[in-house]
Structures are given as C-alpha cells and as structure tokens.
C-alpha cells in the first residue's frame, strides 16, 4: 500500500480565544486575529511570514479566506473554504500535495443576535417542508433519539449520564463558558424540557469566541519547539441536505460509520486503539449514537455502554474531555474547528491537568450527526504513522 500523504502533515498550534455567552463589545475580526496569533504563538517558532495557506472566516461578519488574504498583506497564498474537520482535511491535503507548506485555520463568532424567548436564529430551518412544523436543530436530533429509544429501550438516564459527564469535564476547564458548573444526572433530568427526550441540560449551550489551528509539513514540525500532533486519518460523510429531509433512523441512524471506517483504514487502527473520543456533542443522545456507529459498542448497546463511569476522564474511554458544546463553548461555525483543537490540546498536554488523560496516544473526533445528515470523522495521534 502506498504511503498516505496525510501522514506527512502535523498540527503544531491550537488555540481558543476567550469564550463567553456574549463577548460584549468585541469585534469579530479582532477575535479572528487573536485566534491566528494565539495558534502561531503555540507553534514553537512559526510566524505569519511562514503561513502560505489560509482558511479564515467569521460567522457574523461573513469574513472569508480571500478577504483575509488581503487583510494579511495580499501576498500569494493557498486558501481553503471548508468548515471544521472538512477544513482541516482540506488544508492537510493541500500541504500533503505540495500546494503550500503551512496553513492557519481560524474561525470566530461575536455579535450574534439572541432572541431569548425562542431558539437561536441560526438553529431555525428555512426549508418549506421543515420550518412550518416548528422544527429546529434540537427537534431534528430528538426525532433520531426517540426512534433509538423505541427500538432499543435506551433510557433517559443514559442520556443524562452523557450530558452530566461532559458538563462536569467543562466544569473543570477554566476556559469553559460553564466553568465551575457541575451537574448531576438527576439535575439533567430535572431541567426543563426543550424537545423531548431532550431537557435543557441535554442540549449544547450558545456562546461566542474564536478558534485557531496551525498545520504544517511533518518534517518542519519536527524542527519546531512544540509537540506535534499527526493526522492519522479522516473522512467526510454527507447523505443529503441538513434540516431539509426527515431524519429517518433507518436511513441516517448510522451516519459516520462509513467515514469512521475510511479513517480507521487509513492508519490500520480500530476502536480499541482509541484512547480519547472528542466527539461532536450537540445533544446528549448523539454521543450514544456515534459510539455505536463508530464501532465502540454494538447496535443498541450505547445506552448501557456510557453508564458506570466508562466515559469519564479516568474511565475506559474518556469522552469530550474539554467540555465540548455542552459546557466549553458553541460559537458559530468555530465550534466545528474546536473539536479538532480540543483533540490536539489533549494530545499536546495543553488541557488542564484534571482533564488530561495520561498517556493518550490516539484521539478520535467528529463533526455533525444523524439529525443533520452528515458526520465527518478524524483520527489524530502523538506518533507519525
């Protein structure tokens, strides 16, 4: 088998700006610049002069990579446009194929309007066959969860265990929006309904903030005074338009299984080799579904799998160690990138000590879920394959 060129790419910088429910008076463009600078500062030697690839955006200002290329001096640079894991794989492919050597990805959201008596405007669908029923993101994911609960007897207590565990990771992360806010599974179950079976504490928070990531050639990474994280594998998986087609379990319940298989195949690893799962956590049930889809447990077994401390920091498979979308932060589209950042920080030993998993070598991360008809997967590791 020929060598996978993605294996010659490394992440050398990962940084989150301050995250908060609202960043009062902060301009999005300044957050983007801070994210770029912060990620480069942590690269152990790279500066903006070394950056010949950009994928930079702002959710509200609609800042995009070409505009950013101009703002950052206008010299010739590769630009990428994709979000989150897809953007990281796009950049890694550009480096691996010699289109550029060093890419900065940065994304931020600030200044988004929030209407307190309803769901956030960006969670509302626009499609003529969806909007009129009062659907929005939580309800879409709830339709998937309810079907699973019907088919396999998955209990609300399992959903609450996932939400409480992840939120308690965030409670120990000083950079998390919900730092210090510990919750018990009973408190999750006692919180008010959003869309059954989801209570308020089963759902992602809303917040603002920025995020930055630096990727470079693996040989350059070795010359830097930093701990590189290597791309082991990754794949994107799309089945249709998010929030247009009904999220039918039979068709979309295994979303991400194909991508996970492709990612594992790229590095010859399997679920047993994964030390930490920094999976996408928009709603508690989605973690149970992904653990099944990715092969960590059997079909319908996810509800029992997450019980008994298995997914805590000191458990067999620590899950969303940063606090994730449920507690750390959930800004615009930057939150997709923050999954990769949290994975890199875990492997680089940059998370708080209480959240650091000793000897973690391989982290699996994901974006999206069954309710949105897409699920992208990425594997990152301490050693170059």
């Amino acid at each position: 088998m020929t060598r996978n060129p993605l294996h010659d790419v490394a992440i050398v910088g990962a940084y989150n700006t301050r995250q908060a429910r609202v960043l009062e008076g902060v301009r999005e463009v300044d957050l983007v610049l801070e994210a770029i600078g912060g990620a480069l500062e942590r690269s152990g030697g790279l500066t903006l002069d070394d950056v010949d690839g950009l994928n930079v955006r702002g959710s509200v200002s609609r800042l995009h990579a070409r505009e950013a290329a101009h703002l950052l001096g206008g010299r010739p640079r590769w630009t990428g446009m994709a979000l989150g894991i897809e953007g990281v794989l796009e950049a890694a492919a550009a480096i691996a194929t010699g289109q550029c050597d060093t890419v900065v990805i940065a994304d931020a959201q600030a200044g988004q309007y929030t209407q307190r008596d309803a769901t956030s405007p960006w969670t509302r669908p626009g499609n003529e066959f969806v909007a009129c029923w009062g659907l929005y993101t939580a309800a879409e994911f709830a339709l998937i969860a309810k079907r699973h609960m019907h088919l396999y007897g998955t209990r609300p207590e399992s959903l609450a265990e996932v939400a409480a565990t992840i939120r308690n990771h965030g409670a120990r992360n000083p950079e998390a929006v919900h730092y210090g806010r510990h919750v018990t599974p009973a408190e999750v179950l006692a919180s008010r309904w959003v869309a059954e079976p989801f209570h308020l504490l089963d759902c992602a928070i809303n917040s603002e903030g920025g995020a930055g990531l630096v990727l470079t050639r693996a040989d350059r990474a070795r010359e830097l005074d930093t701990t590189p994280v290597f791309v082991l594998g990754g794949a994107i998986e799309r089945q249709g338009m998010a929030y247009v087609t009904a999220p039918v379990w039979d068709r979309y319940g295994h979303s991400g299984r194909w991508a996970a298989g492709r990612a594992f195949a790229q590095c010859g690893l399997g679920p047993d080799d994964v030390d930490v799962c920094e999976l996408y956590d928009p709603f508690s049930f989605e973690l149970i579904r992904q653990l099944e889809a990715f092969g960590f447990c059997g079909e319908g077994e996810g509800g029992d799998y997450v019980l008994g401390g298995r997914i805590a920091i000191d458990g067999e498979l620590p899950l969303v160690t940063s606090g994730g979308l449920l507690s750390f932060s959930h800004p615009g589209t930057a939150q997709l990138l923050q999954k990769v950042i949290a994975s890199a920080q875990q492997l680089r030993g940059e998370l708080p000590e209480a959240l650091t998993v000793p000897d973690a070598r391989v982290v699996m991360t994901s974006n999206g879920g069954a309710g949105a008809l897409f699920c992208d997967v990425m594997l990152l590791g301490r050693e170059q394959p």
């Binding site: 209407q115 008596d117 309803a118 769901t119 509302r124 626009g126 003529e128 066959f129 969806v130 909007a131 009129c132 029923w133 009062g134 659907l135 929005y136 939580a138 309800a139 709830a142 339709l143 998937i144 309810k146 079907r147 019907h150 008010r192 309904w193 959003v194 869309a195 059954e196 079976p197 308020l200 247009v244 087609t245 009904a246 999220p247 039918v248 379990w249």
Partner: protein, 137 residues
C-alpha cells in the same frame, strides 16, 4: 396550536406547487417514479431511488403510522404555541413526512400509532398536511 399567526409558511416553488396546491384541495399529492415505482418526498427533479426523470404526481392515501415524534416545549419562534408535537409519519406507501400531530394529548402518542392526514388551512394560499390519530369508526 390553533392560531399560529406568524409562523413561517411555505413559499411554493415550481417544483413544490403541485404538492401545496393539492393540500389546498384536500389532496396529499406526492411524486411517484414511473420507472421504478418508488415514492419521492419531498419533491425532487429526479427519482432519488433510480435517478429517472419519469416522476408523476399521485394522490397518497394519507394513511400512515408514527415513525418518530418529539413534543416541543421550547418553540422554534415565539409564534408557535407550546407544547406542540413534531413527527415523522411513515405513509402506507412507504415514504416519510415531517409533520405535526394534532387532535391528541401528547402523552398518548406512541411510535407505531395509526394516523390520518388532517388538512389545516393557514392562509388563502397555504394548507398544511398535519396528522391526527385514526378515528375508530
């Protein structure tokens, strides 16, 4: 959920008009493929089962079962009166629709429950195909 003034109503497109104008007449019109016989919903330019363009509009029975549902307590917009129930209904013909379940206590809804289409007029232009528990008669 009776009034719902101000909720986002569909803006029919050339592709979707046959469905929405059907609803206005009390008919649940969906596409069926002349090549493979598969039902296609929501409206598409090609059959999503076999890519044939031989799609024709037919009337559905409007009979089905609840495939999944969620009772919503936090509204998408303030104009939606809570709680309301969103469901995926599996029609007897085999295709799935997003909809609202009406004329029932949310506590009594079960997956697999038999339901029938129940047209609700929202404006001069738009009638929405909701579903209600099948009446025993």
């Amino acid at each position: 959920m009776s009034e719902r003034r101000g909720i986002p109503l569909p803006h029919p497109t050339p592709l979707s008009e046959p469905h929405w104008w059907g609803c206005r007449e009390g008919r649940l019109r969906v596409q069926r493929c002349g090549a493979c016989g598969g039902y296609v919903f929501i409206p598409q330019p090609l059959c999503t089962h076999c890519t044939s363009d031989a799609l024709e509009w037919v009337d559905s029975t409007g009979r089905g079962t609840v495939y999944s549902f969620t009772t919503v307590h936090r509204p998408q917009r303030p104009e939606f009166e809570v709680p309301y129930t969103v469901a995926i209904v599996e029609l007897d013909e085999g295709f799935h629709m997003l909809t609202n379940l009406v004329d029932c206590d949310p506590e009594t809804i079960r997956i697999g429950m038999e339901v029938d289409v129940e047209f609700r007029r929202m404006s001069d232009e738009i009638t929405l195909p909701m579903f209600a528990p099948r009446r025993a008669d």
